[in-house]
Every structure is written in C-alpha cells, then in structure tokens.
C-alpha cells in the first residue's frame, strides 16, 4: 500500500475521531488530540532543531573557525541557562536569557506597533482623501469616521459623578455608541470571514474523506 494511502487512511480515521467532538468530549477525541499534540510538538521541535539550533548554534561550535565560534558563545551560555527553568529552585539562572528575550521582544513589538501599524494605518486613513471623487470621498469620510469613533469608544478615562457613578460625558457616550456600531459591523464582517474559513475547512475535510472512500471503493 503506498504511503499516500496510509496517510489518507490515518487522516480519515483521525478526522472522524475529531468530528466525534461534535457529539461530546469522548476518549476517541481525546486520543486523537493527544496524539496530535505530541506529533505536532515533536515536528515543531524537529523543525526548530534543524532550522535554527543546528545551523546557528551547534554547527559553529563544531567548526574550528573562531570567527564562527565566538559569536555563539554568549547565546550558547544563555541557551544552556534556560535549562535551569526546568527546576524552580534554580530557575533564576535562566532569567538573564529571558530578560534579553523580553527586551528584544518588547522593542520589536513596539517598533512593529508604531512603524507597522500606527503610522501606516493613519496614513491610509488620510490617503482616502487624496484625489477624491464623490464615491471615494464618501467612502473616505465613512472610514475616517469609523476610525475616529472606534478609537474614541475605547477612551478609558472617565469622571465620577455626584452620585458616585463613573461615567463619561453624554456627548462622549454618544460618540462612543456610534463607535460601537462601527465595531459591531467590523466584527460582523470578520465573523463572516472566519465562518467561511471554517466552512471551507469542513468542506475540504469532507471532500478529502469522501474522495478517499470513492477512490478506495473504485467509484
């Protein structure tokens, strides 16, 4: 039996086990997901090993070239220190590596947020009014209003009323309410997109299963 057929049979069985979750949580579903978690984690570890650790850490260590060896000494020490995280008593030893990781991550996230989203999205909101036509202008106004009012909705600062209740001003609440309408519309569109993706996945799964059965039965 070809390897593709074996893969198809296993995939068919596992797909059925997963679909059994629609009936309810059951041992078959559990078996499938635990098997899946193990295989997926193992595969990810293999990819990390072959794609990152081996070429970037261990191959330079094995090479006698000091130019390659020197840059990996520090990451090697930091990486090994991470193994201390497996024991709570000495986990502090791995904090240096995690501190560097968090620092770089924070800088990356910050730059990504500013350079990647804040500025480009703001520019895009402005560009909608460049060389405006009637339709484009209308679209730009609506999008601009949606952007501004959605941003306004998330205003966190509020004031404490005389009766002790915390609220925002009436005008602010009205603008925020309109912003919520934009948010609800956005979520509605996104939800529909997610559903189409899920439906596509179901169709793909059912299609592959049925096609395999057809081919297996010679239909």
């Amino acid at each position: 039996m070809p390897i593709e057929a074996i893969s198809a049979i296993i995939g068919l069985v596992l797909s059925l086990l997963i679909f059994s979750y629609l009936i309810g949580d059951n041992p078959l579903f559990r078996s499938a997901i635990y098997l899946f978690i193990g295989v997926a984690s193992g595969y990810a570890a293999v990819v990390i090993w072959h794609q990152v650790l081996l070429p970037r850490l261990f191959q330079p260590l094995l090479s006698a070239d000091p130019n390659q060896l020197l840059p990996v000494v520090v990451p090697l020490g930091l990486s090994v220190s991470l193994l201390a995280k497996l024991s709570p008593r000495i986990s502090w030893m791995g904090s240096f590596a995690m501190a560097m990781l968090v620092g770089v991550s924070a800088a990356t996230a910050l730059s990504g947020a500013v350079i990647g989203t804040l500025i480009p999205q703001s520019r895009a909101a402005m560009d909608a009014f460049a060389s405006p036509t009637v339709g484009r202008l209308l679209q730009g106004i609506v999008m601009l209003a949606g952007t501004a009012l959605t941003l306004a909705y998330f205003q966190f600062s509020a004031t404490r009323a005389a009766d002790g209740s915390i609220k925002r001003s009436v005008i602010f609440e009205f603008l925020a309410w309109i912003g919520r309408v934009f948010i609800a519309i956005t979520f509605g569109v996104l939800f529909a997109g997610v559903y189409m993706a899920a439906l596509s996945a179901m169709i793909e799964r059912l299609s592959s299963m049925i096609n395999f059965v057809k081919s297996f039965l010679g239909l």
Binding site: F19, L22, I23, G24, A40, Y43, A44, V47, I48, H50, Q51, V52, P55, V104, T108, A109, S111, G112, I115, G116, T117, P120, Q121, R123, A124, D127, A128, T186, V189, L190, A192, G193, V194, Y195, M196, A197, L199, S200, A201, M202, I203, E204, R205, L206, S207, S208, I210, K214
Partner: protein
C-alpha cells in the same frame, strides 16, 4: 422531727419545709403551685398581728395612699394583667439557656458585651446579638414604674425604637429571633401607660406578677410555688429601684404599687409599706426619660448619693468590658453627676446600668447615671460602692434615722421621713441577710468563663473609673476583692452597735448559732480571705477599708455567721463575686419567713458589703490603683464550680439548728400575694404543665416555673453560651466557612439542566445537518451553482500584477498559514500560483514563519498541481524550480532580517539580496502575519530603492482578508485574493485552473445557506425564549 426526702436530691429535709433546703426542689407536691394550677385561697388576715410594727406602719401608709391610687387608676388604661409577663418571661429565658452552667441572669450579662460593642457601630446589629437579658425583666417593670405622662410615650418610643436593644431588635424582622420576639411583647407592654404611675404609689412590685384579680393572687400566695421566689425578688427590687431613683411614683409605688394589686379588701396592703424605705427618698415625680431605658432602678441601692469623683478620668476604652461593669456603676452609692448624658439609644446601658449607684444616689445623680455614657458608667459605679455621703446625703432627715438605720447598712440613701414611715429597727437584721442574699447561689453557678466574666467584680467595692477601665485584668479582680473585703466592716460595726438588741428572736437564734458555728477568720469579709493583698495595697488602703477588714476579722454579723458556709475560700469569694447579680438575694426577707433557704444566709455578707458603705469612698477610689497591684488568684480564673459544689455550699448554708428555731408559720398573705404565680398561669395557660425542676441557676430547685413551651409567644428564647460570645455575623461567617469546607470535601454532582440538554441537542442537530448535507453535496460532485466572472478590484489587480512579473524571475512565496486552513489556502492561492507558473515560469522560493508551514509546501504544490508531473501538473520539482527555504524564526525580527539579508538569515536561500525577488506572494491565514510582512517589506522599500518595482501580492484566508484590505487601499499590497469567494472568480477567469475551488463551490453555497437559515431561525428562537425567560423572572414570585 419528721423529715421529708427531696425527690430531687434525695436528702432529708425538715417536714416544715416546702422546698428542699439543698436543691430547692418542692418537697410537697401540694405545697407547690405549679404552672397552670390555680392557687387555693387562704385568708391571711389573722397574720396581721404577727407583722412587725414597721410593716403595720407601711400598711397604714398604703391605706393612706390607696385613695390617691384610686384617683389615678382611671387614667391608667393599661391592664396590669400583662405586667407579669416580664418576670416570668425572664424566668423562662433563664430556663431556656439550659446549656449553661452559670445562672442565666449572669449569662445575660456577658452577651451585653457583644451588644454594646456592636452598638457602638450599629445599634441595630447589637440588638440581634444581644441574648435575652435577665435584667430586662427589671427594666420592664422599671419602665412601668416610671411615672408621669412624659414617660408613657417615651416607653412607647423605647419599645418601638432603639431605646432598648431587645425592643428595637424585636421591631427588626431581619434581627428577629426567639428572644427578641418575646421581648417585643414585653416592650409593647412597657409602652403602655401604667395605671398607678401618676400617683406614684401603685406601681411596682405586683406589676411583675399582677394577677387578673387580686383575690386570686392573694390566694395564690397561700401555696407559693418555689418558682415564685424569683418574681418576688424582682418585684422587690423594682421597689428598691424606684426608691433609689427617688421618684415619687417609683418609690412609693415600689411597694404600694404591688400592694394596690392586692385586693384592697384583703387588708394586706399595708404589709408591704416597709418596702418604701428601700432606697429611701421619694423624689419629685419628674422621672428622667432615660430611666425607662436603663436598668438603673438599683442606682441608689448602695444608698448614698455621691458627688462627682474628683478628677475622675474620662471614659475608658474596652467597651465590651464596660458593658459588664456598667450596671454596677455607683454600686457604692457614688453619684455620677459629672458624667455626660448617655445616649438613649445605647443598647447596652439598659442591661447593665440597673445597678448604677447601687450604693445609693440621689435622684439627680440617678438621672445622670441613667444618662451617662456607658464607658464611664462602667467604672464610676465603684465610686459609690463605699456609699460616700454627699451634700444630698447630709440632707437626710434624721427622723428617718431610727427607722432607716437599717438602711444605712443597706444603703445610706437619703430618705425624707415624711415620704416613708420608718420601719422598726428589728427589720434590719433580716435586711442584712437580705443584702447578703445575692452571694448564695452565685457560688453554685459560678460562670465557667474566663476572668472576663469576673471583670465586673473588679469594681465591686469602689474601684475608680480608670482602674476598672482596664478590661478584666487580674488587678481588677483583686481590687474588688480587696475593697469588697473591707466594705462590709463599717456597716457591720454600725449594725452591731444597734441591731443586735433589737434583732427578732427568730433572727437572733440564727445569729447565735451562726456565731458559734463559724469562726470569725472564716468570714468572707476578711481581705485575706477574699484575696491576697499586697503590702503596698494595705498601706494605701483607706481607713474605712482597713477598719472594715479589721472589723470583719472580729465581727461577723449573726446572719452572716449563721449562714456563711464553711466551705473553702474560693467558694466564698465566688459568692461575693455574684453579689450585684443576685437580685434574688435581695428578696431574702420573704424567704426568711417562709423558707429558710440558703440564699438568706449567704446573701448577708455580700449585701453588707455592697450596701453598707463606708463614709469615704473617695479615698477608696484613690486607693484602688494600689489595690490593683495584686495578682489575680487562681480561683478567679477557675471554671465555674460544679453542681456538687453548689449543693455543698447550700448544705452549709442551712445549719440544722436553724430550721428548729424557725417555727413553720403560715406565710403572710401579703408575702404570698407577691408571688406572680398568677402571671405564670396567665402566660402559660395554653402550655401543658411543665414540671421540670431547675437544677442550676438562680432558679435551682424550682419546679415548673419555666415551661418548655414558650411564654407569650410561639418561640423559645435562644440559649446563649458564655463561652463563645460570637456575633451573629461571626457565626454566619463561621457557618459559611464550614459549608465551603464541606462542599470541597463532597464531590460536586454533575448538574444537567434541561437547558444544557437542549444545548447538546442543538449541537447534535446542527452537526448532523451540516455534515450530512455537505457530504451529500460533495459526494454528488454537482456543478449547479454558477460562478461570476466579475472580479473584485483586489483580485483584478492581483491578476494584472502577475502579468507584470518578468519571465522566470525569482519569486518569494511566504507560506504563512497553519495546517488547519491548508484546504482553504490551497484553494485560495491555487489560481494565483497557477497563473503565475503557467504564464511566467518563475523560480519559487518558499519560506514560512510558522514551523509547520515548511511541511505544507509540498502539499500545496501537489494539490495545486504545480508539483505534479506533466501532463496532469506543471512539473515543478523541489530544488529545481522551487526551493523550500524552510522556517524563518524570530518572527518580526526574522522578517526584518530577511528583508535586509535573506541569505544571512536563511542560508538555504539562494538570493543574497531581498531585492532579487521580483515579487513577494504572501499566502496567509491571519492578518497579523500579513501585517508583519507588509510592514517590513514597506520599510525595506523605504530604505532600498531597488525594491521599488517589487510587487507584493496576498492570498489571504477569508478571515484575514477584511483586515488586510486596508493595505490594498493604501497600495502597500498590489493585489489580494481573499477567501474562496474571490478564488472562485479568479479560478473561473483562469480557465477553471486548478479547479480546487470549483469542487467546493456548490457545497460552499449550501453550507452558507444552512448557516444563514440556522442563525436566523436560531436567533429568533433565542430572542423569543430570552424574552420569555426575562418576563418570567420579572413576574412577582
């Protein structure tokens, strides 16, 4: 002499006794009037002759005041029938607290601590925490005794509002409990005007046991049940309170009131006039409004009106302790005129201030006492313990001297002569016994509590406020003992001077036997006996105290000596401890006449101590601090004595000879009439006869006084334990913790509600419909649903961008989606890749920022037929036409590095510069990945002009398309194919290649239709059921 065996303790008793001298159990069934029994009428008119002169005078005075009472009677609508509820209810409560080994009246004091403490924050809560207070019955009658119309509405207010804790508690449903319910009735009664108040001559004693008709009650006295002892005590104390407050309505009514309840024709009213002298002076009828609230009816019990203590410190802390001590304020008779007015709503003062100025105060001080803040009241009562005479005291009319000499021993209360006829001096001996009575049973009912229970004792004997402010310290305990030991001396010497010759024979015999029976060293009045006293304390001991201690060594009053048990000292001291709490002891005069019970003898020394105060309590107060230097003896912290110990003390109390000397005489009718048996009958007529015998507490030995069934209500008072004084909130919290612990221990059963079941059915139904319908559609392989050839703008731009890519140019394909959406992404990207490969034959380099993405490359090329060999596919081969560069780690940083130096980040990539890629095709299922690549490529273009012509195309999942569309409008993305709907059109335009979407299209349409129908119908159903559920919740009940 024949003896009767006690059915309770089985010990022999003289046959003339109705009650067991050891356990107070009724020996003769017929001699006991039990609850529910009707008393037999007996005429006691012939006893008139045996009455002492002072009693005849009192009767005469009663006659004089009878007309005045009758005049007032019309204005008193209140039915006296209801009055006795207090007493019997109090008794019922005592019996209810069956779990305690201490007398309930004592147990009722400790809860006051909780009540007071809580009252400081929220009085209402304090009410519910307050256990039924034994002294509340005094307060009840006390309010009734209060005269004048102003007090009538006040009483009403008190009953309805916060004045009395148990009253307010009774009005609060949330705080409702058995006790407060019962008290609600009493409070309601107290709010009613009293018939004989105005005149002030007919309110008091008999209010507590007021029979429906005096004749009947008169008869009742014939067979007095043992249970009626306590009511007697209480009623008598009411008179005492009135007199100490000096209220005209109070003092005379104290005795005349109850006499008025007797049948005037019985001619026995005047028998009780002697009681007018208790506490002495009648005062103007203006009763302070606060008096009905508190139990200060014994304020002047000590007798002497006092002056404000010089430099008396401010209120001490520790309110809980103050509660205990407050009622003893001025026990020595020191007034508290300097103390600020007490808040009427203070719930604790009612319970404890009843003994304020027990030493005796003038009416004005009494008012102040009743209105003083509890914190000061706790301590200042000591000031009067010595009964320091003050200005008002100097005004005591000498005419009363001969009559009131006995009162000096009792309390040096100023008693204007005209107000009350003086009783003959021979009364004084039994009054000494009367004053000592309290110490009798407390010894047998010593609270099994810590020294906290004994803290009230620490002030007995004139401890100044600051000293007693310290809650229940050993010093306090010792101080009261030291002073207590001393205080009796002065009166004892005084009484010895003039009492002995005039002691009645029956009392003399008692005194003689007691003197012979008990050595002076065993007198409880010796400080050495009561507690170790430091030498310093002795040095600073006031003269009167020293003299008292000296005198106590040599002098022992006949009644004292006769009745004092020879038991060990701790027992004696405990007896002393209980003095202020033993109102029963104050009633011994009646007992001495008809039942020589141990109470009589035991009570003597204590009341001597309390009531016969030395002349300079101020000195005593100053010396108390020094007295405090003594450590608390062990016995003070010992638990309550066992019942056995009580019986022992009682056995000692009653020497055999005493009974012989006392001839069994018929009880005077006026004494019998005082017993509120009728009240018992009235209140418990609906209750089955309860013949249980009290084995502990002040009612020890009494039978049938406490019906098992509730009195006056369908609820029984709650038993309050002295050992744990937890508020209801604390108890609720404790129960909650217990519940939580219990719930953790027990397995939680799986609750499958119908709603959950319907959810499951809905899930199953939806799953079955979707899988079945879609499977049928896919299995049939229909092509019924046409595809539009009109391309969206983004798709059209993507198609045209493909045409602009140079032939055979390297193209970077970012495979950035998860296996979960592999099917959709392959279908979505298929037309784009197919058109690219077919028209431009590029060299494809695949990278992925997802570890699992690298494994999807071959699958993508296979399913899109790009990797399949010709003729079915396009024949692209790995590492020839396409390269799987693998996983690009570090996310954004990796992408950034890849856009700067691709080969440096991924050595497997052949292109050294990012600009070598003619186009970048991003196949992604999540917008963040698209944003990351779009933004980094945009940044690279800004820094590298060579990237200006590089095209960026996106094949996105339907869930990511809407989020990436803004980038298409911003021209950062040249074209985009989003989801199956776009891919279907693109594929249709691309000659239906590779044909993946087409195979999904019909099923996709049916699936969307099912989803739309399901959501619409299901949402309407949810809306309907939700509205119906909300309406159901909104409906009352």
């Amino acid at each position: 002499m024949a003896s009767l065996t006690c059915p309770n303790c089985g010990r022999d008793n003289p046959d003339f006794l109705d009650d067991c001298q050891f356990c107070q159990t009724a020996l003769r069934r017929e001699a006991t009037l039990n609850i529910g029994e009707n008393p037999t009428k007996k005429s006691t008119g012939e006893l008139e002759g045996v009455l002492p002169d002072w009693l005849r005078d009192a009767r005469q005075q009663a006659r004089d005041s009878a007309e005045e009472e009758a005049a007032k009677e019309a204005s008193k609508p209140k039915s006296q029938k209801e009055e006795p509820v207090d007493l019997l209810a109090g008794l019922a409560f005592q019996g209810a607290s069956d779990e305690e080994e201490v007398p309930d009246w004592l147990s009722a004091i400790n809860p006051v601590q909780d009540k007071k403490t809580a009252a400081l924050s929220k009085p209402k809560t304090a009410d519910e925490d307050q256990p039924s207070d034994f002294f509340a019955q005094f307060e009840q009658s006390n309010q009734r005794l209060v005269d004048t119309s102003p007090t009538i509405p006040l009483a009403g207010d008190l009953s309805q509002e916060e004045a009395l804790p148990w009253m307010s508690g009774s009005t609060d449903e949330s705080k409702k409990d058995e006790l407060t319910d019962w008290f609600t009735q009493t409070s309601a009664q107290s709010s009613e005007p009293f018939p004989f108040d105005t005149g002030g001559t007919h309110s008091g004693g008999l209010d507590n046991f007021n029979p429906p008709n005096s004749q009947e009650s008169f008869d009742v006295t014939q067979d007095r049940p043992a249970a009626s002892q306590q009511p007697e005590d209480l009623s008598w104390l009411h008179e005492l309170e009135k007199s100490t407050k000096g209220q005209p309505p109070a003092t005379p009514s104290g005795d005349m009131g109850w006499m008025s309840n007797l049948d005037p024709s019985s001619g026995t009213q005047e028998d009780l006039s002697w009681l007018n002298n208790f506490g002495g002076t009648p005062t103007p009828a203006s009763a302070p409004e606060s008096q009905p609230e508190d139990l200060s009816w014994l304020n002047n019990l000590g007798g002497t009106p006092g002056t404000p203590l010089p430099g008396e410190p401010a209120a001490p802390p520790a309110p809980s302790n103050e509660d205990d001590l407050g009622w003893l304020n001025n026990l020595g008779g020191q007034p508290l005129t300097s103390e600020p007015a007490r808040a009427p709503s203070s719930s604790s003062e009612e319970d404890l201030s009843w003994l304020n100025a027990l030493g005796g105060t003038t009416p004005a001080p009494a008012e102040n006492i009743s209105s003083e803040p509890a914190k000061e009241g706790d301590l200042s009562w000591l000031n009067n313990l010595g009964g320091t005479p003050i200005e008002p005291a100097s005004t005591q009319s000498s005419p009363s001297a001969d009559d009131m000499d006995w009162l000096k021993n009792f309390s040096e209360t100023p008693t204007p002569a005209p107000a009350e006829p003086a009783p003959p001096q021979e009364d004084l001996d039994w009054l000494n016994t009367l004053s000592g009575a309290p110490s009798s049973e407390p010894s047998s009912v010593q609270p099994a509590s810590s020294s906290e229970d004994l803290t009230w004792l620490s002030n007995l004997g004139g401890t100044p406020a600051p000293a007693s402010a310290e809650p229940s310290t050993p010093q306090e305990d010792m101080s009261w003992l030291d002073t207590l030991g001393g205080t009796p001396a002065a009166p004892s010497t005084e009484s010895a001077a003039f009492e002995q010759p005039e002691v009645p024979d029956w009392l003399k015999s008692i005194g003689a036997q007691q003197q012979s029976a008990e050595p002076p060293q065993e007198s409880p009045y010796s400080p050495r006996n009561t507690a170790p006293l430091s030498e310093d304390a002795r040095q600073e001991m006031p003269d009167w105290l020293k003299s008292a201690t000296e005198a106590s060594k040599s002098t022992s009053l006949p009644p004292l000596g006769a009745t004092w048990p020879t038991s060990e000292k701790p027992v004696e001291k405990r007896k002393l401890d209980e003095v202020p709490f033993r109102p029963k002891g104050l009633l011994t005069p009646y007992q001495t006449q008809n039942e020589p019970v141990a109470d009589t003898g035991q009570a003597v020394p204590v009341d001597e101590t309390v009531f016969s105060t030395p002349s300079d309590s101020t000195l005593a107060n100053q010396d108390v601090d020094a007295l405090f230097a003594v450590d608390m003896p062990d016995w003070l912290s010992q638990p309550a004595p066992a019942e056995g110990e009580a019986s022992i003390s009682q056995a000692d109390i009653m020497p055999p000879g005493v009974g012989d000397d006392l001839s069994p005489v018929d009880l005077p009718s006026w004494v019998q009439a005082m017993r509120p048996v009728e009240a018992v009958i009235n209140e418990t007529s609906a209750v089955s006869a309860d013949q249980t015998t009290e084995r502990e507490g002040p009612l020890v030995g009494l039978r049938g006084v406490i019906p098992l069934a509730p009195i006056g209500s369908a609820q029984r008072p709650k038993a309050i334990s002295l050992k744990l004084q937890a508020t209801s909130e604390q108890q609720a919290g404790a129960s909650l913790v217990e519940q939580i612990i219990a719930s953790e221990a027990t397995a939680q059963p799986l609750r499958i509600s119908p709603f959950v079941a319907s959810q499951r059915a809905l899930r199953w139904g939806l799953a079955a419909v979707f899988i079945t319908v879609l499977s049928v559609m896919i299995g049939m392989g229909t092509r019924l649903m046409p595809i539009s050839a009109a391309l969206p703008a983004e798709v059209s731009n993507a198609s045209s961008t493909i045409l602009s890519i140079p032939e055979g140019a390297p193209v970077l394909v970012v495979l950035d989606y998860e296996p979960s959406l592999a099917g959709e992404m392959e279908a979505t990207s298929g037309p784009l890749l197919d058109q690219l490969v077919v028209l431009r034959h590029p060299s494809l380099t695949f990278v992925s920022t997802s570890p699992s993405g690298t494994g999807l490359v071959d699958r993508l090329l296979t399913n899109t037929r790009i990797g399949q060999p010709a003729p079915d596919g396009l024949g692209y081969q790995l590492d020839v036409q396409y390269f799987n560069a693998g996983y690009l780690p570090a996310g954004l940083a990796g992408v950034r590095g890849f856009t700067e130096a691709p080969q440096a980040v991924l050595p497997s990539v052949k292109e050294k510069l990012f600009s070598e890629f003619a186009a970048v095709i991003l196949i992604t299922d999540h917008a963040e990945s698209g944003q990351m690549w779009i933004e980094q490529v945009t940044l690279a273009k800004q820094s590298d002009p060579a990237l200006a012509n590089q095209q960026f195309l996106v094949a996105a999942s339907a869930q990511a398309g809407p989020m990436l569309r803004p980038y298409t409008s911003s021209k950062q993305v040249a074209g985009m194919v989003s989801g199956i709907s776009d891919a279907a059109r693109y594929e249709f335009v691309n000659n239906s290649r590779p044909g993946i979407v087409r195979s999904y299209w019909d099923a996709f349409g049916v699936g969307l239709f099912l989803a739309i129908i399901s959501i619409v119908l299901g949402s309407l159903w949810s809306l309907f059921t939700g509205i119906r559920a909300r309406r159901a919740e909104a409906e009352p009940g």
